[in-house]
Amino acid sequence: MTTEALTTAEAAEPIVPGAPPPQPLWLDFWRGIADDNPVMIQMLGLCPAMAISNQLANGLGMGAATIFVLVCSSLLISLLRSVIPTEVRLATYILIIATFVTISDLVMQAYFPLLSKTLGPFVPLIVVNCIILGRAEAFAGKVKPMRAMADAFGMGIGFTLALCTISAFRELVGSGMLLGYSIFGPNYEPWVFMIMPPGGFLTMGLMFLVMGWWSERKKAKLAGVAA
């Protein structure tokens, strides 16, 4: 989308207070994956990121369910943004989100029963995942459907990527397998600790330490250049 097209699109839209500034569609999409990653940067949705991340399959399933809910609710909320009265918008958002969550929960139970059993209550708990209500309130309720969708896909994929990184690491180290297939062979003594709850906190902690180290290094380099 060119800048010119953007300005005309924005001109047609009544100015909404607090609306995100206009920017190219791919930036809306990319932001959720990198600069504003919901788990790694915004530290939202930490509960599912640690609770179900002891197997890569769980991470993929949870990510898919979250993308579905995020994209559908963002699209619907964006389409209905001029219909929903401001006073009851949060209640309506929660209703819409809870509906899509229940749909994905039922479909999972019906067609992926084993996955649904391991994820357990964490599928319905997507309702209270702050990422979804946060995106509805901060973004989808204020922009056109295309932008809302791009943002939802970006955030959803960003969430899934973070989840998959954590769960792949935990499954690999904690059981020597990936998606149930043995990687390190039978002689590997699994570090069982990693697939248990403390391992979740530890993996997440290590990731934040690495990121902290990275940003400190960047800062030091910049300081060096300035000096």
Partner: protein
């Protein structure tokens, strides 16, 4: 009956601690645990709402939702949100002193996944009214315990010399991991 209730209580309080073993309510666990006072107050508010939710969920399950199990998630979240509002208004009116201490934490509770988790598990495990309340008390007190412990550690951390790369969240998560490991030591105390 008593043995069953005490198993529910202690296994929820210590072995399957909502925060340290089930990863519930982490936003508030990491977000507001910088002071001891706020830690246990938020825990107390959560316990209160958990117990109220247990009662409300029992009523819903017994009288309303038996015919329409697919409306559970929606019904629970709506009830929890309104419950938090009502509790907030009631405390504001009748216990203004408590409100001044708890006030700002109350709205945070709606999005605490521990509450919805309790509602859902209470349903799938088929708990009755008394079992539900004991479950909620165990969960709530466990949450309070974790919040208070974390807050007291972080108070000490304020005066410690922490490497820059661990300042934001890294160290806090490693501490949480150690706490979670310590709580794993409680496993096995329920049977024997």
């Amino acid at each position: 009956m008593i043995a069953n209730l005490s198993w529910i209580f202690f296994s929820t309080l210590l072995i399957n601690n909502f925060t340290l073993a089930m990863f519930l309510g982490l936003c508030s666990f990491f977000g507001v645990t910088t002071k001891m006072d706020t830690g246990w107050r938020l825990g107390a508010a959560n316990t209160f709402v958990l117990v109220m939710t247990a009662v409300a969920v029992w009523v819903l399950n017994t009288f309303v939702l038996a015919q329409a199990p697919y409306l559970r998630t929606i019904a629970f979240i709506v009830v929890i949100a309104s419950l938090v509002q009502i509790v907030e208004m009631a405390i504001k009116k009748f216990l203004p002193v408590l409100f001044r201490e708890l006030g700002i934490y109350l709205p945070l509770i709606t999005t605490n996944c521990a509450i919805l988790y309790l509602a859902l598990t209470q349903t799938t495990r088929g708990y009755g009214l008394v079992e539900g309340i004991v479950y909620a008390l165990g969960g709530g007190l466990g949450l309070t315990l974790a919040l208070t412990l974390m807050a007291s550690i972080r108070e000490r951390l304020d005066v410690a010399d922490v490497p820059a790369m661990a300042k934001k969240m890294g160290l806090v998560l490693i501490i949480a991991s150690c706490m979670s490991m310590a709580f794993m030591g409680f496993a096995g105390m329920g049977s024997g």
